[in-house]
């Protein structure tokens, strides 16, 4: 039984609760002789709404009279604190109208809030916060119970003995549903801690309130306290004694888990795939923010792919014009309230009362709800897309435009890159979005620049060569960009002949800079997407780069960070100009030598593009990956010439933005092109010292041109409760979002400081955050020898370790190629949370049992056929076959003692080079099953193609390169493993700052 430790930890978290929450159960316990009576509480377990119920349901329930006493008691508590709060009656009632559903849940967040304030904040604040929440559910009983506190003590004495027996059944009950119950546990804690015997110093201040409730039992309840607290475990204390058990350490084997409490509390919120906050409890004061040492912000993926059936509804306000707030320009959303018989609406963000345009008017029903609510997706859905009228255009919507800038120097030809690229582009021509309007164009370059005239009237493309790279000009400026539907024949002919045209070239130079300028000149009328295929380091004209990445002496000096930023100001300047003219740059780099991804990455960084890196590209091996990723890049739904802004309620402000884009003004993100694979992070701060509202609203608005040529605005709205207690912030924390923001911050830090410092900053943040959490609890608990952390952040230390061991941050010079660091770093800057978490903690699955079973299950996805293993070498059984998947590549690890049948049927010839294994060449049940399995894994995340590598146990150096260095829980090359990491953090936490 999870009796003692866990429980104890919990108490501190919710000490505040005592006065109110404490009420119902305590009152209840004496009277209720049976467990069922408690049910109303217990059954409610998961949602926050639970607390609301105990207040209400008992009344309606047919239960015995005493039971109703219990709820009555609580309202009383509310009543008692009411006076100060009456100043704040606003929010809850006003929220009521949008949806009934919403109303019911509304009280909950507050209630949670309620518990907290007392423990931490000064009493007045606490009270102020409490009252409003309680009000809605409690109204009737309030008056009679004016002086409840007096009444209770009277009841107490008789109850003293009963609690013990009751406690036990309850405990049993609680133990059963472990996870979901968490919020509710919190409540229970509330009554648990009739002051623990150790004497709770921090609670002193509210002793008077607590006294009436808990006073009497103190003497004879110590045992009970233990039992109770054990149930109410919020924080899992990992017992980190020196000889800690590695098996006990928490591991995210289910991948990214999105906290659901918020969407339960506010069902009208947009789906978390679009917007995730690092904590779903907004701190209400700056002092709380400063004690929350983790990043406070959000991760936004405005165009995330929705599963079928959940697409974002499109709303056309044709005649009305889009309904927006006059002052803050917020778009109408489910959280606005309608008043004045439906003639006005109140903005939920700035609280301004707006008139409703005539065409949008609808009557309100008795509940103050618009009668046409159900026909209006913008009033019932958190995500919606408006069709924008002409006021939202500065020019006619641009057509989708793809421009290709292809390196045709000798190394590009030899690697087979040119052929693969030409082939892929040709195969995608029919699927490019925006069919009749799509524009396309090509430039190739080596030491000279080649333009292609592909006018539809020609049968053959016409090639023009410009060799003056110092003073570049564009011949025939009008015919270089052609409409694809008109010139498709010519484009196809061109792509067919492209590889053969340069077959015999011996040119080793690259005039990349001038070619880029030429492409810019061609494109700047329209904007669009520029795809750069680059193999040879630029050596001619502007933007020349030199080999600078292979000097180990630079590492550890002040010059180190400059390796990770663009060498030549040309790249930054070009990036800024491109962004201005709505050009997005995707860079495909293929070189086997140093190619200065840092400089190239700059181009995509400021234009909303991305970097694809295929080191030592060889068509035979990497062709599939290139084909899949290029095809996805070309055919996925793309939003053009977009701008994005995130608005939030008064008192909160976004301060910094992280990702691939350029800021056009302090809070306007310019995105020449954006798609579902790009996410953006931002950090926020409080502008006022104290937030007085109960809820903060966020609204992400992305204005873009769709491929079909329509101007649209995608709007995501979310509401988040304000909390007054640090413990609640921790409880509501979202590890995925935190890791995502932290990762971006750290990678940005590597651009200006050494890797070592960047890693230390990660560690320091984790330590500070956990130390703060420990301090919350340290007073009442014997924590010696234990490391405690909130349940919601149990994976955070592991992710931090993974981050420190990820390619952009790990080790020193020799641990990763500079180009790899920059390429992976650039990818991590755009990855949505799910992909990032997978990259940081890849999955390791054993597949041989699955292969040998006769039944081919209809499993979709990895989850269905096997459990994930911790990433340590001990998980690898030499009789097994494992698949390691980080979202970008698959490594198939073959144990030494794998049954020979399996090996034979997979055609694994151990003597030969395993890098050339080809599954499709063998035709038998097992290999088919394995390839179908791999296909399933790949289908589960189509953003990138996972190239498959086979490695055999003990096969060095491939095993080490592909797998062993990635087992991040093990000690690798100078960095400790998971257990040491935890020990280290624990030690630092204990050191007083």
């Amino acid at each position: 039984m999870a009796t003692d430790n866990p429980g104890r930890t919990n108490i501190p978290g919710r000490p505040a609760t005592t006065p109110f929450a404490a009420a119902p159960p305590q009152a209840a316990s004496p009277f209720m002789s049976s467990v069922p009576a408690i049910r109303p509480d217990a059954s409610g377990f998961r949602p926050f709404s639970t607390p609301a119920y105990p207040g209400v349901s008992p009344f309606s329930s047919p239960g015995p009279v005493p039971v109703s006493e219990a709820p009555g008691f609580r309202p009383a508590a509310g009543g008692r604190f009411n006076d100060p709060s009456s100043a704040l009656p606003g929010p809850p009632p006003s929220q009521v109208s949008p949806a009934l559903n919403y109303i019911q849940r509304f009280p909950t967040p507050q209630f949670t809030t309620t518990n907290q304030p007392i423990s931490v904040g000064p009493p007045p604040t606490g009270r102020a916060n409490l009252a409003p929440p309680l009000q809605p559910n409690v109204p009737p009983p309030q008056p009679p119970f004016g002086q409840p506190s007096a009444a209770i003590p009277a009841f107490r004495p008789p109850s003293q003995t009963p609690p013990v027996p009751i406690a036990t059944p309850l405990q049993g009950y609680v133990a059963a549903p472990p996870v979901s119950s968490s919020p509710y546990f919190g409540q229970q804690t509330g009554y648990a801690p009739p002051p623990p015997p150790m004497g709770v110093t921090s609670l002193q201040s509210r002793e008077p309130m607590q006294h009436p409730v808990s006073g009497p039992p103190i003497g004879n309840l110590p045992g009970l306290v233990e039992d109770f607290s054990s149930l109410s475990l919020r924080a899992v204390p990992g017992s980190m004694d020196p000889g800690l058990d590695a098996k006990e350490l928490p591991r995210p084997l289910e991948g990214d888990v999105v906290p659901t409490s918020l969407s339960e509390m506010y069902p009208l919120n947009c789906h978390p795939r679009y917007l995730r906050l690092t904590t779903n409890g907004m701190p209400n004061s700056q002092s709380l923010v400063s004690r929350w040492h983790l990043p406070l912000g959000a991760v936004v993926c405005p165009l995330a792919e929705a599963p079928e059936g959940e697409e974002v509804p499109i709303v056309n306000f044709a005649s009305t014009g889009i309904v927006r707030c006059r002052r803050c320009r917020t778009y109408v959303n489910p959280y606005v309230t309608f008043t004045d018989g439906g003639r006005k609406w109140r903005c939920n963000i700035c609280a301004l009362l707006n008139d409703i345009p005539g065409d949008y008017f609808a009557h309100l029903d008795v509940n103050g709800r618009r009668i046409d609510m159900d026909q209006r997706p913008e009033l019932i859905k958190g995500s919606v897309e408006f069709v924008a009228p002409t006021e939202y255009m500065v020019r006619p919507p641009m057509p989708p435009l793809y421009f290709f800038l292809i390196d045709v120097s000798v190394s590009a030809i030899r690697s087979g890159m040119l052929e693969a690229v030409a082939e892929t582009i040709k195969s995608c021509l029919d699927n490019l979005p925006g069919f009749p309007r799509t524009q396309i164009g090509f430039i190739t370059f080596d030491s000279t620049i080649h333009f292609y005239n592909m006018k539809s009237s020609l049968t053959q493309p016409q090639m023009m060569v410009v060799s003056d790279v110092d003073d570049i000009f564009v011949p025939l400026p009008d015919d270089l960009l052609v409409n694809l539907s008109e010139s498709q024949k010519v484009v196809e002919t061109f792509l067919d002949s492209l590889p053969s045209m340069f077959q015999d070239t011996l040119n080793v130079e690259s005039a990349f800079g001038p070619a880029l300028k030429a492409a810019f000149m061609v494109m700047n009328q329209l904007g669009g997407k520029l795809l750069i295929f680059q193999h040879t380091l630029p050596s001619l004209g502007v933007g020349r780069l030199r080999l600078r990445g292979d000097d180990p002496r630079v590492y550890g000096t002040d010059k180190e960070p400059s390796l990770r930023v663009a060498e030549d100001a040309f790249y930054k300047q070009m990036a800024a100009d491109m962004s201005k003219y709505q050009i997005a740059v995707d860079v495909y780099a293929f070189s086997d030598k140093y190619t200065d991804i840092a400089s190239f990455g700059t181009l995509s960084k400021y234009t909303g593009g991305q970097v694809y890196y295929y080191p030592s590209f060889q068509a035979a091996i990497h062709k599939d990956k290139l084909k899949h990723e290029l095809a996805r890049d070309l055919t996925r739904e793309t939003a053009w010439e977009a701008v994005m802004r995130i608005r939030c309620g008064k008192g909160v402000r976004f301060t910094s933005y992280h990702g691939n884009f350029m800021l056009r003004s302090t809070d306007l993100i310019a995105l020449p092109a954006v798609d579902c694979d790009k996410a953006f992070a931002m950090q926020l701060c409080l502008e006022e010292t104290l937030l007085t509202t109960q809820t903060v609203f966020f609204q992400v608005a992305l204005l873009y041109t769709s491929s079909s040529g329509e101007r649209r605005i995608r709007v995501h709205t979310a509401a988040v409760p304000v909390v007054a207690d640090l413990g609640e912030m921790y409880r509501q924390a979202d590890t995925g979002a935190i890791v995502s923001v932290l990762c971006r911050l750290t990678i940005e830090k590597t651009l200006s400081s050494k890797l070592e410092e960047a890693r230390n900053s990660v560690q320091l943040r984790i330590v500070k955050a956990l130390r703060e959490y420990r301090n919350l609890h340290a007073v009442q608990h014997r924590l010696a020898g234990r490391m405690i952390y909130p349940e919601s952040l149990k994976y955070l230390p592991l992710y931090a370790l993974a981050l420190c061991k990820s390619a952009p941050l790990r080790g020193g010079f020799a641990d990763a190629q500079l180009d790899e660091r920059c390429a992976v770093g650039s990818t991590m800057m755009i990855l949505p949370v799910k992909g990032l978490v997978k990259l940081l903690y890849p999955s390791l699955v054993r597949v041989d049992p699955y292969l040998s079973t006769k039944v081919i299950s209809q499993a979709n996805g990895v989850k269905d056929f096997g459990e994930r293993f911790p990433l340590t070498i001990e998980s690898l059984d030499s009789r097994g076959l494992y698949v390691f998947d980080d979202g970008f590549q698959l490594v198939i690890w073959i144990g030494k003692m794998l049954s020979p049948d399996v090996a034979r049927s997979l055609n694994l010839d151990f003597a030969a080079d395993l890098s050339k294994v080809n599954l499709s060449s063998t035709d038998n049940e097992l290999s088919k099953r394995l390839s179908s399995l791999l296909r399933k894994i790949r289908d589960s995340d189509p953003s990138y193609y996972q190239l498959c590598h086979f490695v055999r146990q003990g096969e060095q150096p491939r095993e080490g390169f592909y797998l062993l260095t990635k087992l991040l829980e093990d000690q690798t090359a100078g960095t400790g493993g998971y257990a040491e990491w935890i020990m280290q953090i624990h030690r630092q936490i204990q050191q007083t700052p």
């Binding site: 930054k572 990036a575 800024a576 400021y606 910094s656 056009r664 003004s665 302090t666």
Partner: protein
């Protein structure tokens, strides 16, 4: 009399410097309040940076040439800072990062401004002092 003239010239140069720095600050403030876009803002500021550096260098040299070594010494830190920025190629505003650097750029210019104002008062003081001295000589 000559001394008074020297102070007068330095006074004028200082006023010019002040105007340049204030202009840059105004561009930054405009940017912050979204009156101009980052491209224009950074172009305007960057246009004024080298003139600022040269004027300041000239002032420093002018003090030295006219034998006011204390004032010359006083403006050396400013000059050194400018030279260092120029050598590290950090002197121009980077349009891509302008919003992240906004606070720093403003702070830096405000410090420069206050430095210049102190210098201005010093030279005013010397100007008046030398004027009075001239008077006494008469």
């Amino acid at each position: 009399m000559g001394d008074l003239f020297v102070w007068l010239v330095s006074f004028l140069i200082l006023i010019a410097l002040l105007i340049i720095v204030v202009y840059q600050l105004m561009c930054l403030a405009d940017l912050e309040f979204d009156y101009i876009n980052p491209y224009d803002s950074s172009a305007r500021i960057n246009k004024m940076i080298l003139p600022e550096f040269f004027t300041q260098g000239a002032l420093c040299l002018f003090f030295l040439m006219t034998g006011h070594w204390f004032m010359s010494l006083f403006s050396v830190p400013y000059l050194y800072y400018n030279v260092r920025m120029y050598r590290d190629k950090q002197h121009l505003i980077d349009v891509t990062e302008i919003f992240n650097m906004l606070n720093w750029e403003k702070k830096q210019r405000l410090i420069k401004l206050s430095y210049l104002i102190v210098t201005l008062f010093l030279s005013l003081f010397w100007m008046i002092y030398s004027a009075l001295e001239d008077d006494e000589d008469l």
